[in-house]
Amino acid sequence: MSGTAPRSDPVFQIRGLTVDFVGPSGAERAVDGVDLGVRPGETLGVVGESGAGKSVTVLAALRLLPEPPARVVAGQALLDGTDLLTMPSGELRSVRGRDIGMVFQDPFSSLHPSYRVGDQVAEAIRVHDRTVSRSAARARTAELLDLVGVPHPTRRAREYPHQWSGGMRQRAVIAMAIANGPKVLIADEPTTALDVTTQAQVLDVLRTAQRETGAATVLITHDLGVIAEMADRVAVFHDGRVVETATATELFRSPRHEYTAELLSRRAGAIGAPSTTAVLRAPPGPPVLEVEDLVKHFPTGRRATGPAVHAVDGITFTLAPGESLGLVGESGCGKSTLARTVVRLLEPTSGRIRLDGTDITRQGGADLRATRARLRIVFQDPSGSLNPRRRIGDAVAEPLRIHGRHRSDDGRRRALELLDRVGIGAALAHRWPHELSGGQRQRVAIARALALEPRVLVLDEPVSSLDAPVRAQVLDLLDELRSDLGLAYLLISHDLTVVRQVCDRVAVMYLGRFVETGAADAVCTRPEHPYTRALLSAVPVAEPGARAERGRIVLGGDLPDPTDPPSGCRFESRCGQSIARCATVDPSLTHRGTDHECACHLVGAPTGAAP
């Protein structure tokens, strides 16, 4: 869409908008004199960190913020010159949903759980035009759902939201937003809650929606990649203000404001480009962790022999001392189950796990306890992984207590040392977890994992709940700890850029299996498996125009049912290039050169030298 922005007047304009949140400790300014404007057919990207005031601005403009605690102090929100903020509420109601369509962040909660999806879309039509009959609204609903790419729209319209996947639900919300051909379409972090391949699908749908309606679009996101891919112009938010507005091309080429420059400098490098700093730090020697044909099934009924979810279905890998292996996959692929099974939080169904040569698969009692000291795990959500009723100093010392080393190791001093090691001052040791920021909490969780001087750290999505700058800091800390302490990492993430940044090797997981493994560089620059390629191509690159050069692979559909995985290749149902053999024969991992394996029938002999 770049470069097609017409030079007409803005159809929707926010002028001098100022919003306070009134709390017990006085008013706090969330939005401070914001000016925005968007023209017909144009896409305005709104970017900034969480808490910068992006969502508050548009919600306040549509008067969708609960007042109190919010209070609009000043400003105008003009639609075709009429101020929404002073409009009588009856009139505003007819503007919402007819002239302005909205798409929200979390598709799992933005649909009413008790009404059929079709009825909710139809309501968007009938609420603005009572003359439309129920059957006409139903027919129009089916058309809309078809437009946004919902298969079998007539049948699926009769289902309830909990029967729909997140990506499908977001399509339904988009269908509602464009039901009345709005002049303005506002999408508030529409893909943040979604997997990267689903994100690619939904962004495509948004493009279609905009093309069909010609609406002026406001797209709010924290992801510069999404901005680069979608926006004609960009407004950068920082601390409740717009610090810079520019065309996307200009902004990425020559940012004027220092905050924008900082934001751009922090973006991860283009994922497909060869890494300049990658050094294989893994020293040769016997592996510290060996996992062999690991399987974990969850029975779905009460009987152990009934149908089971094949969460982990035959995984093999080794981890050298000091090495970092990244495990990438989308939600539902079984990566968290794998992490929990490897550290023996879940009982393996079959297979073998060895730590420093010792078989720990069926260990129990004191042996298992000794293993737990050397094989540690850090969880995704630092607010959930710390006991809310324990001060953080005690939380770090708790593993020492459990292992009876609190007295001998002088637990209190050791806890302070560890906190210091992860960059948390001793002054914070008496705080409760809820008094800390997300990044600080994750540092505490890491300190806790280090308390027993482990050999291997399993990191389950360690930064996915953190904002970009904090995320970078925590990743730096992890990198530093690894080289200082000689730790081996098994890092699990849905985000390829994270894995690329921290890991020597990468394994790509799909529906309980590895489909491709290899050196991080090799997998990211020369992906072999169609799924890896789709995954890589779906990652938005924070570089306008980069998309056009590389082309894109958008996967169709959703994950197959994990209780009944396909008999042939698991990826066959979503693969654009499948051949007859894929449906019947399950491909195994085969070598594609030194330290690069791929499980795909289409990938024949090794391709040989790297470019």
Binding site: L62, L64, P66, P68, S89, G90, R93, S94, V95, R96, G97, R98, I100, G101, M102, F104, D106, S109, S110, L111, H112, P113, S114, E123, A124, V127, H128, Y160, H162, Q163, V173, M176, A177
Partner: protein
């Protein structure tokens, strides 16, 4: 799944009933002294005691006694009231309509008024109306029903003279037909309102809390963004799910409501099973007391069953699981 859920839920009912019968039976046998005295009081004659022994199979071994007792109950035989010398079931049945009238009126009243006030409070949360309703329901919820009754009598019956103080009908008026019906309604109004007061308070609070919670949800924002009016948001989008916890409470509080009925009957001289129960305790007329206990326990079990089925019907996630 739905059918399965309903069947399991139905299968639990006889088990629960059997448990309740067992509790009553065990209590009789745990009581100090000869069970025949516990069951028939200490002022009967030898012939009457013999009949009670036979009725309850008291000379038989424990399990046979239990079987006899349970068999009698299934056949609708609650034993013989020794104060009146008639089947206990007949004595209770005579008084039941008055109590049912009072309880069911209060149940309907509290549901309708409670939900209405809850919606009124939530629609302008933190406004003056909301605060007044909040304070009133907090106070009413904490007040014993007899105090509410006494204050109502002092204010509305004795003070303003709007309602009669006692009874279900005007003595010696002999009014029949429509006039008689009007007379009963006039007598019913105050006790029913008093009985409903605590439930109204509970349901108002619950509806308000549920509505506010629902109104804060993302799908409500979606509805507003679609252009749905505030009224429709409140009634069509928020109320339905806000009523789920209310449903549970209405079923769960039936036992509580019947207990309140007993007290209200004492305050207003209402001729239901309440006064029968109190006089039976004073006279230790056990067949009546046990009979009332079993009937009310049965009512509570049925109310809970209906609640669970309604809940499953209201929440598609249970239905379609």
């Amino acid at each position: 799944m739905t059918r399965r859920y309903v069947l399991i839920r139905l299968a639990q009912v006889p088990l629960t009933c059997a448990g309740i019968v067992l509790v009553g039976f065990l209590l009789v046998h745990l009581a100090p002294g000869d069970p025949v005295l516990a069951l028939a009081g200490d002022s009967g004659d030898a012939e009457y005691y013999a009949r009670v022994r036979a009725d309850f199979g008291l000379d038989e071994p424990f399990l046979v006694q239990l079987a006899t007792y349970a068999g009698n109950l299934v056949g609708g035989d609650l034993g013989t009231s020794y104060t009146q010398g008639r089947p206990a079931l007949d004595v209770i049945a005579e008084r039941l309509p008055a109590t049912l009238l009072l309880t069911s009126t209060a149940l309907v009243l509290s549901t309708v008024v409670g939900i209405g006030l809850g919606v009124a409070a939530a629609s302008r949360a933190h406004g003056a109306r909301d605060l007044a309703l909040g304070a009133a329901s907090l106070g009413l919820y904490a007040a014993p029903v007899f105090l509410v009754g006494q204050l109502a009598i002092l204010g509305l019956a004795l003070g303003l003279g709007w309602f009669p103080v006692q009874g279900m009908t005007t003595a010696r008026s002999g009014a029949t037909g429509l006039a008689g019906f009007g007379d009963v309604v006039h007598h019913l109004a105050l006790p029913a309102l008093v009985l409903a007061s605590q439930e109204i308070a509970a349901i108002t609070r619950l509806t308000r809390t549920g509505l506010l919670e629902e109104l804060g949800r993302d799908h409500i924002r979606t509805a507003r963004a679609k252009g749905v009016s505030e009224r429709a948001v409140l009634i069509r989008h928020a109320l339905r799910r806000a009523l789920l916890p209310v449903t549970t409470v209405i079923g769960g509080r039936v036992g509580h409501l019947v207990a309140g009925t007993i007290v209200v009957e004492a305050v207003f001289g209402w001729p239901g099973i309440g006064r029968l129960l109190v006089s039976s305790v004073q006279a230790r007329d056990m067949p009546i007391i046990l009979g009332v206990f079993l009937l009310i326990a049965l009512a509570v079990v049925v109310a809970n069953l209906l609640t669970d089925l309604t809940y499953a019907w209201l929440d598609p996630r249970i239905r379609y699981r």
